[in-house]
Assembly symmetry: C2
Homo-oligomer: 644 residues x 2
């Protein structure tokens, strides 16, 4: 066994390798090959400890694929291959652990979200424990996580075994080290009333290891650095954090994994890999007694550069999983489609990207020109395909269509009427014509897919047409408010392209669907959404920790504190002359958010998650009509009465 310089007790060191691998969800054999290569590299570098992420073998977000026994058996077999490769060093890795003689509370085979420690070809479990693996203690069951749907936790296991949790949370003793092994949530213990790390510490631990499969979320690393550095400081031991790279999804919501693996020392410093979203090995010769790297803690807040990086990474990886290599973007001249197109141009070579403008008689030459200019700037394929003729045909087929009952006329006579297609309906006809008729056919003929360019404000209130602008293979911007899309556009021009790839006009244009004469951009007409305000309002419904309802909003409005509560920088009085208009607007969008908004999101494309509470599995919802609290109705009555 390769052992590095360790002299006196105070001078003990461990040469560790954090293997931040790219994990493919649901592909245990492929992940095992990746791990075996990483072990070989680590061995070549004389590492004595190699650490992999949580669920490195199976992947983590797999939906109900955990119910397939054949899959579980293969994960188990892959784990043994890693065990066999542990000659001469210690390998720590996440995998699903099975106890085929017990069952979960759903009656299916007992599954644990587990950490395996292998040394010299054998698994070592926690000292005095039931199994030869470490069982996750705290199972997250909020946001996108469904851990207790699939896994049995250590608290329940300890109770079943008649052990205290402190007994069960024992270190893993290798030939040279007492390892304090925990999994992801085990170190996010603030709200659980127990701290697995502190319980472990009582047994004496040389080194703490947190193996995670933790999706990227804006500013999560900042919070993690603060929390985990505090752990290391309190525990007075090195603290290894290892996370995977890649993307995983639960159908509706697609998560990126940024790695960001690092080692925290006892002085709130950290040693990290140079870049996020990159597979890599972090090698370090760690003194166990008084670790100090000198690198200060990364306390930087995430910004638009991080959003850009996550989007580009996420889109690229998602395309790879689907086997997609060519993309069509419908470009309207507006900011959402321009930003989408600019993003894809960073991922695809120009011959694999096609921008299409689909004008009707309501589209201003202004926007058509902006679309053309954008395509010229990106140097990719471009086409203009008008929808006018088809919309006329649909209108002719539907408007005035006689529908009758072919029943033999009974005593009640037979039915006969004519259908009427009004202007609002024709707006939706146009939107569907663009996406479902043309973009879908164009994408097929181009050999690819087409994008959904909706932003989060539109997605929140369903200000989109189903099978129209809400269609597409992926909604990459649907976790960004309109203001964030503008900021991303500016970042693309200034930092990424360093020239005006997205024309200035896209930023200055009134946002508009251009589906009718009341949405004429050249007259400054457009969407009914006042984005700077509605972005803030909707964020308080969707993303705020204390999710608001009209009750809180109206209360704050009446108290004159709403601007501050929502972080809205404008003045409400400039938008709403009186409470009446304020309330009408509030109710309109609240109804949309809880009504058609939900119905449309059920049929929307997958959303690329960037922040807390992306739509889908991180924001579960039911179609159940609109609810106003009694207190809201009371406040509203007062407000309107006061106004007279």
């Amino acid at each position: 066994m390769k052992i590095l310089s360790h002299n006196a007790k105070s001078g003990r060191r461990v040469k560790a390798c954090l293997a931040q691998i790219h994990v493919l969800p649901g592909q245990p054999t492929a992940n095992t090959e990746t791990m075996l290569k990483a072990i070989a590299s680590a061995r070549a570098q004389t590492a004595e400890l190699v650490v992999f992420p949580e669920m490195a073998i199976p992947g983590y977000l797999l939906g109900d694929a955990w119910e397939r026994d054949a899959f579980l058996r293969e994960c188990e077999a892959c784990g043994h291959r890693i065990r066999e490769a542990s000659k001469g060093l210690v390998v720590v890795f996440g995998n699903v652990a099975l106890d085929w003689r017990r069952h979960n509370e759903d009656g299916r085979v007992r599954k644990y979200n587990a950490l395996f420690v292998a040394e010299n070809g054998r698994f070592i479990g926690p000292r005095g424990g039931t199994y030869d693996f470490v069982v996750k203690t705290l199972l997250p069951n909020y946001r996108e996580f469904d851990d207790s749907r699939y896994f049995y936790d250590l608290r329940r296991l300890a109770a079943e075994e008649g052990m205290s949790l402190e007994q069960a949370l024992a270190p893993v003793i290798t030939e040279r080290l007492a390892l304090g092994c925990v999994l992801c949530e085990d170190a996010w213990d603030t709200d659980y009333g127990i701290s697995p790390l502190d319980l472990l510490k009582r047994h004496g631990v040389d080194l703490f290891i947190n193996c995670s499969c933790s999706p990227f979320t804006l500013n999560k690393n900042t919070k993690r650095n603060r929390m985990f550095a505090a752990h290391a400081k309190r525990l007075k031991k090195p603290f290894l954090y290892i996370n995977s790279v890649g993307i995983q999804n639960n159908g509706k919501t697609v998560y990126t994994f940024d790695g960001a693996s690092c080692i925290y020392d006892a002085h709130a410093h950290q040693l990290s890999l140079p870049s996020r979203f990159d597979a890599g090995l972090l090698q370090a010769d760690i003194p166990l007694a008084s670790l100090e790297f000198g690198t200060p803690l990364d306390a930087r807040e995430d910004g638009v550069a991080d959003i850009y990086q996550a989007l580009v990474f996420g889109i690229r990886e998602f395309m790879q999983i689907l086997g997609v290599s060519r993309v069509v973007v419908g470009v309207s001249g507006g900011i959402d489609s321009a930003v989408t197109a600019a993003l894809y141009s960073r991922i695809l070579s120009r011959e694999n990207l096609l921008l299409v403008n689909l004008p009707s008689r309501f589209n201003s030459p202004t926007t058509v020109n902006l679309a053309r200019e954008l395509a010229a700037n990106l140097g990719c394929y471009y086409a203009e395909v008008p929808i006018e003729e088809s919309v006329r045909l649909t209108t002719a087929q539907v408007n005035g269509l006689a529908i009758t009952s072919p029943a033999i006329a009974g005593p009640d006579g037979s039915l006969r009427t004519r259908l009427v297609l009004n202007d609002f309906m024709i707006e939706n006809v146009q939107a569907r014509d663009r996406s479902s008729r043309l973009l879908a056919a164009l994408a097929a003929a181009f050999g690819g897919v087409f994008t959904c360019n909706a932003n989060k404000a539109e997605a929140t209130v369903g200000y989109t047409t189903l099978y129209g602008d809400l269609a597409g293979y992926l909604a990459a911007l649907a976790d960004l408010w309109k203001g964030e899309v503008y900021a991303l556009g500016r970042y693309l021009n200034e930092a990424v392209f360093q020239r005006e790839v997205i024309p200035a006009g896209c930023f200055n244009l009134t946002p508009s669907a251009e589906l009718g004469p009341t949405q004429d951009v050249d007259k400054g007409l457009g969407d009914p959404l006042i984005y700077p305000y509605h972005d803030c309002l909707f964020a308080s419904w969707v993303e705020a920790w204390q999710r608001t309802t009209p009750e809180e909003i109206l209360e704050w409005y009446l108290a004159g504190t709403l601007e501050r509560q929502l972080n809205y920088e404008g003045k409400l009085a400039d938008i709403f002359p009186s409470a009446r208009e304020f309330i009408a607007d509030l109710e309109r969008w609240w109804r949309q958010y809880n009504g058609m908004g939900v119905a449309k999101r059920i049929q929307s494309p997958p959303v690329l998650a960037i922040k807390r509470r992306a739509f889908g599995f991180d924001h579960r919802e039911a179609q159940m009509g609109v609810w106003f609290s009694n207190r809201y109705l009371e406040l509203k009555k007062q407000a309107l009465a006061r106004q007279g």
Copy 2:
């Protein structure tokens, strides 16, 4: 207080009323009004105990609406209104219970799925307990249930309080009765290793009450009757089961609630309300010592009549929640759309139902005539709207379209190519033209919605077109295999209409999408699915308790036991001449199920759940490409080598 005849101890009786109310999810005030009316009725009938379902006030499947504090406060206030109405009788009801000073493990306010017992205007909690309400012990976290996402369970609470679970599971002592109160899953204890009912019994209980919010699932009542009657027999006490009526959903999956409330006696007999899916009060004068109704246990297995009843109820209620009253059904002449149309004709008056046939040049006069005949039989509106001209227009616009790069030609020259729309792509153009262009516009002009007629076999392998035949406001048949759709069609003709409303031709026709010359029904050509076999194969992937993968399927095929394992009544040798063809078919559909099938389901309409594992929240899935186990690949190699 109204007390009924109770003489000797052995003669004690209780006049109980099981209030099987219609619960509206997310509408606490409306539900409270319903409950107050039921209490008044029960009081008028001199009942001394009124029992409501689990979560009678808030509803149960609400998505993340549990995170809105305003909603929680209103539920709490509604609970107090019920408490105040409990003068002179005991009211048991389900509600969310809040402890505003504690938090859940996600950091949000502490919430319990709780039972409240109110008597003479005050709440009574379990004897010696922490709270004045009963906390649910077993939180289901499988299938469509997300209980531990929102609620804190009694096991964790007892640990927190330093109590044993037996201490915590104490009866509620009213003036006259010791009530053993549990919530739904608490009585489905087989796989939990503890039995809340048995722990309660040790304290001495007069009467057991199980308040549930339990979705209808085919044959669940049969299983419940068997289990709960066994409980009553073992506990030697009357056992009241009360469930709500209505529909609730978690977005993608819509559940019906059939009520089926009843009282089990200690002799495995039961007293039930006469019909399912109906609100009602079940009044009974229950002797506490030796209860016997004489009515035998309902051990009947559910059948097509129950499927029909659940569908009609579910569709009607779903339309009500959405505020929809008019429906357009695209009718192809095939069985799925014919059954859909026949179902809707039982829900809507004929002037609110419009059937539309949308022929192209590939549609045989046979199927157009069947559609027309169906509409004539139903007596509703009908129209024929051809798609030929539009498909020609789309083809002309896309096929051969020159796409170029408008970039100023650099040293690498500029891009130029032409798009090609092949026959397969034009098939999808037709399907999208029907749904997204025409049905959507027709539905809008008719003032309603249009249906998705997909069955579960198509939904499983994505044998549907996105934004085409997979579009619609609700997929009512998407939890039924093709064979079950045929059976439902026969039931409609024979039992419901008692005449041939669905023409015989719809049953005899080769199932076909009629999108190209290779799908000519008049030549007996059609879908690539061999439904009698593929229904069985797909059921083993999706619905079987031990969900299979190609590994098990191939193993059984090679062992000659596959027909038996799948309950397939035909002979595989009649379909597949050799292992090569069998394997090609298996892999084709497995790839589709795990590939495009998932992508399409993410954007599919809500599914009305009928059986175990409806798509959506009861069958969670991720897009992660296709997985074949190593063992499968080995078996396949052997099978093909053997064949030579």
